[in-house]
Amino acid sequence: MDWHILAQQLVNGLTLGSIYGLIAIGYTMVYGIIGMINFAHGDVYMLSAYVTAISLATLFSFGLDSLPFALLVTLVMTMVITAAYGWTIERIAYRPLRGSTRLAPLISAIGVSLVLQNGVQLSQGARTQGVPSLIPTTLRFGEGDDFVQITLVQVMIIVVSLSSMAALTWLIQRTSLGRQCRATQQDRRMAAILGINTDRIISSVFIIGAAMAAIAGVLVTLNYGSFDFYIGFVTGIKAFTAAVLGGIGSLPGAMLGGLILGLAEALFSGMVNTDYKDVFAFSLLVLVLIFRPTGLLGKPEVEKV
């Protein structure tokens, strides 16, 4: 194994991992606060990829030629629209079902997931969509055939995702909203007694999760350029794997789990086999659940009556 292949896979894994981490935040926060898996989260991410492409194409068709400005507008647009989806999903598929059977919200979330996938397929067509390569700059290290290539987009992905994770950590640790979130996560009933509007907090958790997925969607779309209505499914399971790996309910765990999963997957596909990289990721999920169901940073779950 040459050093440059290893280094290249590490770079790819780090990029992939930060994306997984961003999406995993949505899973882990929702799970932390209402104890349920948001099955539609992967499709929220898929929607954000579409909104990104639509927004970019619309802006360019209006003759906008400043790329940084276009990217900024796209990022904000995507975050707003995707967050609106997160809010709506909570209102439609989760809130009416609070206090219902355990299975009910899971099933309704799958229903939402099917509606989103099929809705996008119906309105945008089933074929693979794309955006043109906007930032072709690449950095090369090494000589001749032995080189490591880092695109500017990859650097952007790592920088943007790390800074949004830092911003989120600040939001959760330092602001009033974050304090209310943590209180609701610890004990929803007690938080409600103490005057926290828990319904609003749950809504805002869905919004934050969706906004993070939107950042991931924008970055991925810029990096890979192509997507279809089905991407949310596989990416969703992988991001969930990342959340479980890091310890579901734990915010730093989601980021750590994302990075580890991304690196493991990149190394596996670089050194063993590309065809089976998804199988590898899913098997990792099963293995983690068998041997360490609380994940790396999670707390053991105590069931109380």
Partner: protein, 436 residues
């Protein structure tokens, strides 16, 4: 939903307030719908350009707003109020309808009628409708199998299609490599599927129910990806052919291969390709009947009661000494077995299978059948399976909207009747105040 009582004074409804609230809510719904649907539905990606279709989201948003307006108004009429109350009361109903054990079965004679109709129907059907019937029967079987897992034991299995695939590939690959026929593959594939279920279920079933959902989802994908990528063994995306069933060694082909006797020659009737499908249908029907009997009996047996008890309250069950892992595992493996059997029938009736038949939509469809049928109710599952497979055939023009409609139905069902359309019945000895 804002408190309706606020607008209802003692003298009656203050309509100007209600009207204002309705207008406000409709405007909010319109704005939200426009924000959500505007870009996704209104601007269609076409290469690197967008095509303007903004009239579509405007129309949908207008419909949503009008609907919201009317619903808000209707909620304040006396009829609306009673409907709302009834709706809320229904959601609080217990999951199981308890009937007295002494109540006699009145369904017997029309059960017989259903059996007679089901047995004569294939003789009259054309080839197209015969395949639709077989397909429907396969889904009934799948629904019954998943119903044990999801409906009775309360374990959400989102990768059920994996066991279906194991059964189908068990027959096809068994015939290719081990020279197995339909009848020997049927029990073997079922056992193989059960084995897969056990291996997957054992580690996962110890954990929280939600994990199971996502692990099974991943497992379904793993099976599909392996079938798709392992070219040398499974033929990959090109698929693999599956053998047709035989009746005591008689083949359903025009001319028999290596020394066999074709069915039509043995009985001295003219050859008809439909014979094969009729035969598959009849065997399938028998298996479905058997399944119905088995499930009905199981529900009254200790293990069946333990399944339902675990679904309702796991902690209480563990406190009462029920081994929750083994009980769940039995349900999971039972479901997997049925899935495997359904897969064998699918392979033999198609004659050819490839991995695209076993994607997530298939799993979602089976879950939709169980959910609509009423988590736990055998009759409900059968009706739902028949409706969800035969209705799309009648509504071919709306085929694209099938999955969309399933999704909407699943959400609405969970809000409206989380326990399904038909409440499962459970027999119990008469205790005052419990039976109705």
């Amino acid at each position: 939903m804002p408190p309706i009582a606020a607008a209802v004074s003692t003298t009656g409804v203050r309509w100007n307030l209600v009207f204002r609230q309705a207008v406000l809510e409709a405007t909010a719904a319109f704005a939200l719908a426009l924000l959500l649907l505007g870009p996704i539905v209104g601007l269609v990606l076409d290469g690197y350009q967008v095509r303007n279709e903004l009239q579509r989201p405007l129309l949908i948003a207008a419909i949503i707003a009008a609907g919201r307006f009317l619903v808000t108004l209707a909620m304040h009429t006396p009829t609306g109020q009673t409907a709302l109350e009834r709706f809320n009361a229904r959601r609080r109903q217990p999951g199981v309808l308890v009937v007295s054990a002494s109540e006699s079965d009145r369904q017997r004679w029309w059960l017989l009628a259903i059996v007679v109709v089901s047995l004569t129907l294939p003789l009259l059907a054309s080839k197209y409708w015969l395949t639709v019937l077989i397909q429907a029967m396969i889904y009934v079987l799948l629904g019954l199998g998943l119903n044990i897992v999801v409906g009775l034991a309360g374990l959400l299995d989102l990768g059920y299609v994996a066991f279906y695939a194991v059964g189908a590939y068990g027959l096809a690959l068994g015939a290719q490599y081990l020279d197995l026929g339909f009848w020997s593959a049927l029990p073997l594939a079922a056992m193989l599927a059960a084995l897969f279920g056990g291996v997957l279920g054992f580690p996962v079933l110890r954990m929280h129910g939600d994990y199971l959902a996502i692990v099974t989802l991943g497992f379904g994908e793993i099976i599909r990806l392996v079938l798709n990528n392992w070219l040398e063994f499974t033929g990959g995306p090109n698929g693999v052919s599956a053998p047709a069933p035989q009746l005591f060694g008689l083949e359903f082909t025009r001319t028999a291969k290596d020394g066999g006797v074709p069915f039509h020659e043995y009985f001295q009737i003219s050859y008809d390709p439909l014979h094969r499908f009729i035969f598959i249908y009849l065997v399938l029907f028998l298996i479905v009947c058997l399944m119905v009997v088995v499930v009905t009996r199981l529900r009254n047996m200790p293990v069946g009661r333990a399944w339902e008890a675990l679904r309702e309250d796991e902690i209480a069950c563990r406190a009462l000494g029920i081994n929750h892992v083994l009980v769940k595992l039995s349900a999971f493996m039972m479901g997997a077995t049925v899935g495997g059997i359904a897969g064998v029938f699918f392979a033999t009736y198609q004659g050819f299978i490839n991995p695209t038949s076993f994607n997530f939509f298939e799993s979602a469809l089976i879950v939709a059948i169980v959910v609509l049928g009423g988590l736990g109710s055998t009759t409900g599952v059968i009706v739902a399976a028949l409706v969800l497979t035969i209705l799309p055939e009648l509504l071919r023009a709306f085929a694209d909207y099938r999955v969309f409609a399933f999704g909407v139905l699943m959400v609405l069902m969970m809000i409206w009747r989380p326990r399904g359309l038909i409440r499962p019945r459970r027999r119990a000895f008469e205790v005052k105040g419990l039976c109705r």
